[in-house]
Amino acid sequence: MIDTIVPSPTETAEPAVVDGPPKMSARSVGVFYGEKQALKDVSVDIHDDKVTAFIGPSGCGKSTFLRCLNRMNDTIAGARVTGDIDLDGEDIYASKMDVVQLRARVGMVFQKPNPFPKSIYENVAYGPRIHGLAASKGELDGVVESSLRRAGLWEEVSDRLQESGTALSGGQQQRLCIARAIAVDPEVILMDEPCSALDPIATAKIEELIHELRGRYAIAIVTHNMQQAARVSQRTAFFHLGEMVEYGRTKDIFTNPVQQRTQDYITGRYG
């Protein structure tokens, strides 16, 4: 199993220096659904220009944690978050934090492609429009085009922007969702198993895209595919049974894990 894991090319080029201040940092985060504790004591940093992967078996709490980072858990009745999560040193669970603005700054891509049942153009234009980011129709057109270009979808859809977003293939839909997320110019992008519903070719395209986006945004990605984590990420956190077991450089996690449980998981002994 372990021999199939290749460190990403950028990883080797990375200087062995201590990271700067993180874009987002979580300290001793716990999540409760009613009385039940779903997640405990998670401390993770998410850096600019880096992809942070959360891996672990199903039901280990990695998606739950990801949804804490833009407060999507607020929408679940009875969900409660403890601990600190900071964005640029600002507590995102503070009462003065505007959750609508937070979600624009911390965008999200979901497991199943979920374009709005509207035209491709409307899908991308929706975010900028509700936030008033474009002053004119021309400016909005520009935002839509550049977002679709960055998501690598422009070449495929430029001549049919008025067609429904739901008519695209699964991989195209997911890239449309990524374009929709980057259209509001976020600082962080959260991806919740973005490739789990896609075929290998579409997956490869999304991974390529993640590489390109890394230069502009801090990215956190949840995946149950360890090869994918190894391919796209620079930092990895391993979750197990609602706990964060280990967090570190992807290279270290995959080649030289500190914890026995991490070692067992990445060698395929369980999970």
């Binding site: 929408t75 609508v100 603005q101 937070l102 979600r103 979901f110 979920n114 929706y126 975010g127 997320a181």
Partner: protein
């Protein structure tokens, strides 16, 4: 080896064949019952439509007969000049045209022939005189609608004596346009459904204007914004119960609240609409909540994920996606309100109203109540009028539903 043979036996053996045959028989039986149920409903529907059409289409036609009237020799004293003025209608109404008709009928068909003509005949004669006052100076032959009794006799269902009279006269059947433009009357030959149709239209407008927005907003609030607690549970149970309350109870509520307490005008479409809105709202709320529930949560996540506020999520995404479902529920509720009689009887919409309402506060009747009232009349002429009114009600309902379905499909296409 022996176990493999046993397996073979199990799948191809006689017992298994029997079980398979039994299973197919059960499936065929089920299909037959389903088909029979559909067939039976179609048969009932066809029977209803055919019998309605059979009895009711006669209500859209009337019998006319040719009558010779010698105006210069009749007792009629009518100044042709008065027929040109604005009071012409009034002048002919009080001129005693009925007497003229009776005289002419007796002269032409013999003793007792006055029965052939009635109020409708006199009105038609008056209209013809206003159109051409020159008639008054001549002996003329005119086509005039016969009385209700004679009309029933001409259609083969009346008094034998009158039937004999009708047989003597030269008659023809013509389309009765007045049935669609006139209002209620005591003489079945001149009644029409326009007043009731307009009353129904105004009432349903009030109902729609209140029940739809309030119902949809209530459904949206309860489904998307309200916290889940004992209060909202209680509201949900109450709404479900309200939808099952007999409609006459709503009539009593309307009587108590809108008439006795708020002193709104009696018999008015406003009060009828308010009462029916109370009755329809729970249906819309329930249908709306189900439609809203069926909008996939991933759409809400997607909108929240790009930073839409709760209200933007609801009004930009959830409501448009739920609208076709909400409209379906609304159509059902409105169709029920349109056909409702009992609650309207309670608020006085069963009064005899001979002119169409000018607004929502004027006294009015509605189609189902009109049908109910006519079905109660002793005059045989009302029988086919009742069926004809039922046809009008069904057509009105079909048109309304057709419009709603068209709107629903249009909204569906936009997405």
């Amino acid at each position: 080896m022996s176990s493999a043979v046993a397996t073979m036996n199990r799948w191809t053996g006689e017992e298994m064949q029997k079980r398979v045959a039994k299973r197919y028989a059960a499936e065929r039986r089920f299909r037959f019952f389903g088909l029979a149920a559909v067939g039976l409903s179609i048969a009932f529907l066809a029977f209803l439509l055919v019998s309605m059409a059979w009895q009711g289409l006669g209500g859209f036609s009337r019998t006319e007969t040719k009558l010779t009237i010698d105006f210069p020799r009749s007792d009629l004293i009518l100044d042709p000049a008065a027929l040109k003025g604005p009071q012409a209608q009034e002048v002919v109404a009080t001129a005693g045209l009925e007497g003229v008709l009776e005289q002419a009928a007796v002269a032409q068909f013999g003793e007792g022939a006055g029965e052939l003509f009635g109020g409708g005949s006199a009105r038609s004669l008056g209209d013809q005189l206003i159109a051409d006052p020159g008639l008054l100076s001549r002996k003329v032959e005119l086509w005039l609608p016969v009385s209700s009794k004679a009309d029933v006799a001409a259609k083969g269902d009346g008094d034998p004596a009158i039937e004999k009279l009708v047989a003597k006269a030269e008659t023809k059947r013509v389309f009765n346009g007045e049935f669609l433009t006139a209002s209620d009357a005591t003489d079945p030959s001149v009644v029409g459904v326009w007043g009731a149709l307009k009353g129904s239209f105004l009432t349903i407008l009030v109902t729609m204007g209140l029940a739809f927005p309030i119902g949809v907003l209530a459904a949206l609030y309860l489904e998307e914004f309200a916290p889940r607690n004992r209060w909202t549970d209680m509201i949900e149970v109450s709404i479900n119960n309200l939808a099952a309350v007999p409609s006459i109870i709503f009539g009593l509520l309307g009587l108590a609240v809108f008439l006795n307490f708020m002193h709104l005008p009696r018999s008015a479409p406003l009060v009828g609409g308010l009462t029916l809105a109370l009755m329809t709202m729970p249906v819309i709320v329930i249908a709306g909540r189900n439609a809203i529930k069926s909008v996939p949560p991933s759409i809400r996540d997607a909108a929240l994920g790009v930073g839409a506020s709760k209200m933007q999520v609801v009004f930009h995404h959830v409501l448009p996606l739920a609208l076709p479902g909400i409209l379906t529920g609304t159509i059902i509720g409105m169709a029920r309100a349109l056909g409702e009689t009992a609650p309207l009887l309670m608020i006085g919409m069963r009064a005899f109203i001979a002119s169409p309402p000018a607004g929502i506060t004027e006294p009015a009747s509605v189609l189902p109540v009109q049908i109910f009232l006519w079905s109660d009349e002793v005059d045989r002429g009302f029988v086919e009028k009742t069926s004809a009114a039922i046809i009008v009600l069904l057509v009105f309902m079909l048109m309304m539903n057709g419009l709603a379905i068209y709107l629903r499909n249009k909204f569906e296409r936009r997405w």
